[in-house]
């Protein structure tokens, strides 16, 4: 069966036809043969009986007259002519089975006399038997005078006669079958060819099309069975016509596709923005346009060996959140891209899932925002400076205290020395300890100033918001308290850490606290309200967020201003008092850390600023790693 399947269609048709014919012929031969045998045998018997009956009629009178010579003559005459082939022997008997005449010239076959004696001469019958090594039908026909049986004619019909006929017929049949087979051999071959030649042509043409050669000619084969499209009105022609239509359609589509390809290729090539094509899960770079290559300084083939993770700082969790299935997603967090030379730049990322060469990919476009970021940090620095101004008075005041204390202590010691009085040990300890601790305090204040003014590092750290709150409290808390405002710290224990910068976080808290103080002072001044000002700093958390709330009972914010306060250059302060950059900058910083800031306020009743950050899950530090985003958009 395997062999059959491997044949070409042409040979399949050919072999099937041939096989079928042979099978049919074989069965016809078998059938006919059996039919013939039965037919011929019946005919032989009938003929034999007929002859025996003729002989019976002739011998009647001689049986009556017991003329054995005449009976013998009749018997021998019965074997004359073409009867010789059929009649092997003849016997004429009386009604008691005695043989009166016979044709056994050379002698009786063994047992024939007894056989004849035992026969029932009354009834016609046929027995199949062997006489003298010849297969015969022994036929008995009674000779009747009226209703009385006076004798019988018994003849042996030679079966060999039929067998010879049959073998002759068989040979004839076989020759005929062979002829038919030979003829059909050629016929079926031609038939198969006739069917499959157009198909073979079509296969050739299809192959050409596959190779992109659309300019195929339907060649005229030039022979008798020349196949022109539409020459015959059958399925092959229909197939051919459909094929031609398909080819022209295909030609058109291919051209369009090519044109489209060119267009998008052009777009990709000369896009003003860097574009990467990355594999969806591994983020391996599959392609990058020239702009991207230029931006990063790598060579194209180097890029194609890398994953996007090795170029960009992509290991934040928020990457996964902003990645619903299928739709364009803007990931505008400031993503750091590392150049080949070690330098880096900031980009905004737009990513779109797509299919590219049978793979699920992301098309990632990047917009260079390095300048923006720099400007941003410069702004932040500037605002910090502004804050610093506010702080310096406080700081000066703060430092004066420990300095005064140190002065007092050292003056006491000098005085004692001048008076040449012994200082009691415990007094000396106390004074020295005081001096030491005041120096520490002063150093701390200075140190805080230092850290505060320092430009923040770009990489985020794991920090505790509670610590920032406490740090700010240390800087400005005393000052605020001195202004008759209560500063309440309500810090949640076991607060999860967040990814941020300590001094920036402090900046934020510091800024909000000063805003709250200003609001309270405003209330007291304008409304002449002598209610004590309260600023409450509280931290809280739930499963995946960390929150910080700064509440005050200042003047509050008008509803119309609620949305505007985060706009740049919007301020309610007097000219020269503030630039109005505080809150926008704060918002920028908070957004940087993937956090949110919200405000609630009722005019006259103060405001609550609530900041939330995503809780940082314990993992590897703030390193650039090669990683994957798996199917659940979890960073691994």
């Amino acid at each position: 069966m395997n062999y059959f399947n491997r044949l070409s269609l042409k040979n399949k048709i050919f072999v099937s036809c041939l096989g079928f014919i042979l099978l049919v012929s074989f069965f016809i031969a078998l059938f006919t043969r059996s039919l013939l045998i039965t037919g011929l045998t019946g005919e032989l018997q009938k003929r034999g009986i007929g002859m025996a009956q003729g002989i019976a009629d002739n011998s009647r009178v001689y049986i009556l007259t017991k003329n054995r010579a005449e009976l013998t003559a009749i018997a021998y005459d019965g074997k004359l002519g073409n009867r010789k082939d059929i009649i092997k022997y003849l016997m004429i008997t009386d009604n008691r089975g005695n043989i009166l005449a016979h044709t056994f010239t050379t002698g009786f076959p063994p047992g024939i006399k007894t056989f004849v004696k035992r026969q029932d001469v009354e009834n016609e019958n046929i027995t199949s038997m062997d006489v003298d090594n010849h297969s015969v039908f022994h036929v008995l026909v009674p000779v009747k005078e009226g209703i009385y049986t006076i004798g019988s004619v018994q003849a042996g019909l030679d079966k060999g006669h039929i067998e010879k006929l049959i073998s002759d017929l068989r040979l004839l049949f076989l020759s005929f079958l062979s002829m038919v087979t030979i003829i059909f051999f050629f016929l079926s071959h031609r038939l198969a060819l006739h069917i499959t030649k157009p198909i073979s042509s079509l296969i050739r043409y299809t192959d050409q099309i596959t190779q992109g050669n659309f300019n195929i000619l339907f060649e005229d084969e030039g022979d008798k069975n020349s196949w022109k499209p539409g020459a015959r009105n059958d399925e092959i022609t229909k197939l051919t016509n459909s094929f031609i239509k398909m080819t022209s359609r295909l030609k058109v589509s291919t051209k369009r596709l090519k044109d489209s390809q060119k267009k998008y290729h052009a777009l990709f090539r000369s896009g003003p923005n860097p574009i990467f094509v990355v594999k969806k899960q591994t983020f391996n770079i599959l392609d990058a346009n020239p702009n991207a290559i230029e931006m990063l300084g790598y060579e194209r083939k180097e890029l194609l060996r890398m994953s996007l993770f090795s170029i960009a700082n992509l290991n934040e969790i928020n990457f996964t959140h902003k990645y619903p299935d299928g739709n364009t997603m803007v990931i505008s967090s400031k993503v750091k891209f590392f150049k080949k030379n070690g330098g880096f730049l900031f980009v905004n990322i737009h990513a779109n899932p797509s299919e590219y060469r049978n793979k699920d990919v992301l098309i990632v476009a990047a917009t260079d925002i390095t300048e923006l970021v720099e400007k941003d940090s410069q702004l932040i620095q500037a605002s910090k400076m502004t804050n610093l101004e506010k702080m310096s008075a406080g700081i000066a005041h703060e430092i004066n205290q420990p300095l005064n204390a140190i002065k007092m202590g050292s003056e006491y010691l000098c005085m004692m020395k001048e008076k040449k009085q012994t200082i009691k040990d415990e007094d000396l300890d106390m004074v020295l300890n005081q001096i030491s601790s005041q120096v520490s305090r002063a150093a701390e204040i200075v140190g805080r100033l230092k850290t505060f003014s320092r430009k923040a590092d770009f990489s985020r750290e794991v920090i505790q918001v509670n610590d920032c709150v406490r740090a700010v409290n240390k800087i400005i808390g005393r000052q605020i308290t001195l202004q008759n405002i209560d500063l309440i710290l309500d810090l949640a224990p076991l607060l999860p850490p967040v990814l941020a910068h300590n001094n920036r976080m402090e900046q934020v808290i510091f800024n909000l606290v000063t805003n709250a103080r200003d609001a309270i002072n405003e209330r007291i001044e304008e409304k002449n309200d002598i209610n004590k000002g309260i600023i409450t700093l509280s931290t809280f958390h739930d499963a995946d967020t960390v929150g910080l709330a700064i509440a005050d009972n200042g003047t509050g914010i008008e509803p119309k201003d609620l949305d505007l306060i985060f706009e740049s250059f919007y301020t309610t302060k007097e000219m020269g008092e503030g630039m109005g950059l505080g809150l926008p900058i704060l918002q920028g910083i908070i957004k940087d850390y993937n956090g949110t800031i919200q405000v609630e306020s009722t005019p006259g009743n103060g405001a609550v600023f609530t900041i939330t950050f995503p809780a940082h899950v314990e993992k590897m530090g703030d390193q650039v790693t090669k990683g994957k985003i798996d199917e659940n958009f979890n960073y691994r």
Partner: protein, 404 residues
């Protein structure tokens, strides 16, 4: 296209060839009809005897012929047996009377072959009788030596079992016609014949002979075998004013014909063939026999005083006298004697380990055998007739006289 043709041919051959072979084998598979191989038949041969059978007319319308023949044959056979036989075997001849009746002849012959189990058949008389047993002879493969008939059917087609001695009817009628037309210069020739195969044979022979001279019989008259109803035929022939009548019949019917013709003053040249039984014919026609011609296939069985006798004839007469002293020699008897001579020669030549096959081969080997009748006898593979000469005799004074 050429390439496909070549591969087509190749694949065709690779399929057709085994197929053809298969057919060949299949056809060969049908068993051929087994040849009828009968072992060498040793019927009739015993240590001291060879059994020979004969069915012939010893009674009835042709009884003279059989009787005469048998006497001639038996004379010689007794002579041989008295001398010790051949290879220490004596010849025993069983003769059955069939009264010139073909069915009886058939039945008798079946008896001889099947029951008596004779070695060979011998001295049959008559055309219808002898031709009737041809199937038996062929089936039993038994030789028949010496038939008192010149029938064509016993000679053509050549049958090696039928060993003819005498010349054929065609030869006899040829001679007769030659004599009538050339010697007697007569061309109005009629034919009177027995209405059976013997008569038809003679008629045919006459017609063939006449045709050679550009003639046809002017009249043909016949009679039914076994009857003497010759009148119808006679009328016809008289009416034709034939100058000569070639007669193919038996002695009784021919005698009646000639007598009646003479009564009616119709006297053409009567010409008989040897089967007629010339002596008996002569006896029956008496004075009317003057000038009646009879062709013979053996020389006259008489010793003419003044001429040196033929040795064969002499021996015949002597032996006949020894066995049948009261019988007179006759043409028919001489033929019987000659038949016996050939039979004995054949047995002699076949050797002591005799079989039918050997006997036949022995007969075929007889070449230019001198029977002492100045008529050398030859047989051969395709020649189953020994003698060829035809003699002219004429009845003169009631005696048959040889015309030289």
């Amino acid at each position: 296209m050429k390439k496909t043709n070549k591969s087509l041919l190749g694949s065709f051959l690779s399929v057709a060839l085994p197929w053809a072979v298969a057919i060949f084998l299949l056809s060969a598979c049908t068993p051929p009809q087994p040849q009828e191989i009968t072992p060498e038949n040793r019927n009739g041969i015993t240590k001291d005897e060879i059994l020979i059978g004969s069915s012939l007319a010893l009674g009835g319308h042709a009884g003279y012929l059989g009787t005469q023949m048998l006497q001639g044959a038996r004379s010689y056979i007794r002579h041989i047996n008295d001398a010790g036989g051949i290879h220490n075997r004596k010849i025993r001849l069983i003769a059955m009377d069939d009264r010139y009746n073909p069915t009886q002849c058939l039945y008798n012959t079946q008896q001889l072959i099947l029951e008596k189990k004779v070695f060979a058949l011998f001295c049959y008389v008559g055309t219808p009788t002898t031709v009737r047993i041809i199937p038996l002879i062929n089936e039993a493969q038994i030789p028949l030596v010496g038939m008192f008939t010149g029938a064509n059917r016993l000679r053509q087609p050549v049958n090696r079992y039928l060993i003819n001695i005498r010349a054929s009817y065609y030869q006899e009628t040829q001679s007769a016609v030659d004599f009538i037309v050339k010697e007697k210069k007569l061309n109005q020739v009629a034919v009177f014949y027995q209405y059976d195969e013997y008569g038809f044979d003679g008629l045919r022979g006459t017609e063939i002979a006449l045709k050679k001279h550009g003639l046809i019989p002017v009249a043909k008259g016949s009679y039914v075998r076994g009857t003497l109803n010759i009148e119808g035929g006679l009328e016809k022939i008289i009416a034709s004013n034939a100058q000569a009548v070639v007669m193919i019949g038996t002695y009784d019917s021919c005698a009646k014909f000639i007598n009646l013709a003479r009564e009616r003053s119709f006297s053409p040249l009567f010409h008989n063939v040897s089967f007629v039984g010339s002596k008996e014919l002569a006896r029956r026609i008496g004075a009317n026999g003057e000038g009646v011609m009879v062709t013979q296939v053996v020389p006259p069985p008489t010793v003419t005083p003044g001429t040196s006798p033929l040795p064969g004839v002499k021996e015949y007469i002597a032996l006949l006298n020894a066995s049948y002293p009261r019988r007179k020699p006759s043409f028919v008897g001489l033929e019987g004697y000659l038949n016996a001579r050939i039979l004995v020669e054949g047995i002699k030549r076949a050797g002591p380990d005799i079989t039918r096959e050997k006997f036949i081969k022995a007969i075929e080997s007889i070449q230019k055998y001198d029977l002492g009748i100045q008529n050398p006898l030859s047989f051969g593979k395709n020649d189953t007739q020994g003698l060829d000469d035809v003699y002219y005799t004429v009845i003169h004074n009631g005696e048959l006289v040889l015309i030289p």
